[in-house]
């Protein structure tokens, strides 16, 4: 069995004739926060969707905690906690009912104490009886995040998890991710926030046009590209940041 909590090997994804992901390979170790960065349409969500089992790649292998997503999809899914980019739940259900639903789906025994802990940890005590449709964007995001970890997954997949969160909630989420890392969970996250990637990720892969163009620790990436002319040109304040490296590597053109 591999030492990695997630092992993606030679992944290729096509939409018709268009190849969205080209020979992508990376791994996430236990106790590691791994960031997948890229401009819009670079292939991040396609890669993540394949890991989540939402789309079937044309070729390549994905192994989650020892389970191949092709051969043992339910076991692989049971070991992951997923927060999708635009997750939603039935607007008619209350926060408590949604937590009960997902506890049942993941086979988690939801005692009163456990429910209270989930609500408290996510600042949702006051909203427990509110319907999902009545919650603010930040509260909805917190419900979604609370469900990701309800079954104590070995791997966490977070697709732009801090979108819509206020600075306090964002900081709290970073602390929770770091706490999970300490406990040995692996985390794969995508984000457009370079500040977030630099602050929490142990390693980063930059993906563009479906290919991984750089992969390393944030500081190593900055150091190894600080003298690239494109990176220097992208620098705004003299000091080279991860964002400068990102723009230097992927270009200044706005993607749609």
């Amino acid at each position: 069995m591999s030492d990695f909590i997630l092992d993606v090997d030679n992944l290729n994804i096509y939409y018709g004739n268009f190849q969205a992901v080209k020979n992508v390979s990376f791994h996430v170790k236990p106790g590691e926060i791994f960031g997948l960065l890229g401009p819009n349409g670079a292939g991040k969500t396609s890669t993540l969707s394949a890991v989540e089992g939402l789309l079937k790649p044309q070729s390549g292998n994905i192994v989650v905690a020892g389970y191949n997503i092709k051969d043992k999809p339910l076991y692989a899914k049971a070991t992951m906690g997923v927060q999708l980019q635009s997750t939603n739940f039935q607007p008619e259900l209350t926060v408590t009912e949604i937590i009960q639903l997902f506890a049942g789906i993941y086979g988690v025994e939801l005692t009163r104490e456990k429910l209270e802990t989930i609500l408290r940890d996510n600042n949702l005590q006051e909203s427990r009886d509110k319907k999902f449709g009545q919650l603010s964007g930040g509260q909805q995001q917190r419900v979604s995040l609370s469900l990701c970890v309800i079954h104590n997954p070995k791997l966490l997949l977070l697709d732009e998890p801090t979108t819509g969160l206020d600075p306090q909630s964002r900081r709290q989420l970073w602390e929770r991710m770091e706490a999970m890392r300490e406990k040995g969970h692996g985390i794969l996250l995508t984000t457009h926030s370079m500040e977030e990637a630099e602050a929490v990720c142990d390693r980063i892969a930059i993906i563009d046009h479906g290919k991984i163009i750089a992969i390393n620790e944030p500081q190593v990436l900055i150091d190894s590209h600080r003298n690239d002319p494109e990176v220097i040109a992208a620098s705004r304040k003299g000091k080279i940041t991860l964002e400068d490296v990102f723009i230097g590597l992927t270009g200044r053109a706005v993607r749609v």
């Binding site: 989540e52 089992g53 939402l54 905690a65 389970y67 339910l74 076991y75 899914k77 049971a78 070991t79 992951m80 997923v82 999708l84 635009s86 997750t87 939603n88 739940f89 039935q90 607007p91 008619e92 259900l93 009912e97 009960q100 639903l101 997902f102 049942g104 789906i105 993941y106 086979g107 319907k131 979604s144 079954h151 070995k154």
Partner: protein
């Protein structure tokens, strides 16, 4: 650490509980689905002796089944797909068929409720009585008929992704079925339309429902109508399943 996969039956019952709660919270639309066939039945009070009690009950149940399949099921599936609710469930360790099965079980309950409501209204307000066996067979016929309209609803959400377009299409198809079906069956739209309606999803479902309430009047033509009904259900469902996509993207 061992990976825990819950039993499919436990997952299905959890999903069903949530879907029933969702349906209950939308009870205004549930009440409307129940009321429309009952109101039509009450409005026919004066012509029940001419058309026959079984015919009136069968027509009203057919109208209720049409509303369940076209307005209820397809719109809820289109909305939940658009909101990403299905995708969130699909990343969890449960077989995808459980998600739809739970939705269909809720609709099955609605079919039984509509049928019961029409029988109750028929008995209470119009004094329509049918043999005990007729009630039992009519419930089975209602499930078969309901499958046709759920199949049509599935086909619509399979072919159309946008929830607003699904909504307007189902309203249009519903209206067409009811108007052409009812008026056509009474011969108001001419003999050609009347013949077409008899073998349409509206006509065959109405025919098997009507005959099931009076088993003595079941003929070879009714058996053909039953076979056509089953074929409709299979064909529409197959198209709907093949074309269905879990995501709008």
């Amino acid at each position: 650490m061992e990976t825990n996969i819950p039993k499919t039956s436990a997952v299905l019952s959890t999903l069903l509980r949530a879907d029933l709660k969702t349906q209950w919270r939308n009870r205004r639309s549930v009440v409307l689905t129940l009321l429309i066939p009952v109101i039509i039945l009450l409005s026919w009070k004066g012509i029940i002796e001419q058309v026959g009690g079984a015919f009136a009950l069968a027509s009203c149940i057919t109208i209720g089944l049409t509303a369940i399949g076209l307005m209820g099921y397809s719109n809820s599936v289109a909305r939940d797909r658009d909101k990403g609710i299905f995708q969130r469930l699909r990343v969890a360790p449960l077989p995808a068929w459980c998600i739809i099965m739970s939705r269909l079980l809720v609709q099955l309950l609605m079919i039984l409720l509509v049928t019961t409501a029409v029988f109750f209204a028929g008995y209470y307000f119009d004094k329509i009585t049918i043999p005990g066996q007729g009630y039992a067979l009519a419930f089975l016929a209602a499930i078969a008929g309901g499958a046709v309209y759920l199949g049509i609803g599935q086909m619509i959400v399979g072919l159309i992704k946008n929830p607003e377009t699904v909504n307007s299409t189902t309203r249009l198809v519903y209206f067409a079925f009811i108007m052409v079906g009812m008026l056509g069956q009474f011969g108001i739209l001419g003999d050609e339309v009347k013949k077409m309606v008899i073998w349409s999803p509206y006509g065959t479902v109405q025919s098997i429902l009507s005959a099931s309430m009076e088993p003595a009047k079941w003929t070879a033509t009714t058996t053909e109508a039953l076979l056509v009904t089953i074929s409709y259900a299979i064909i529409f469902s197959m198209i709907g399943i093949r074309k269905f996509q879990w995501s709008n993207k």
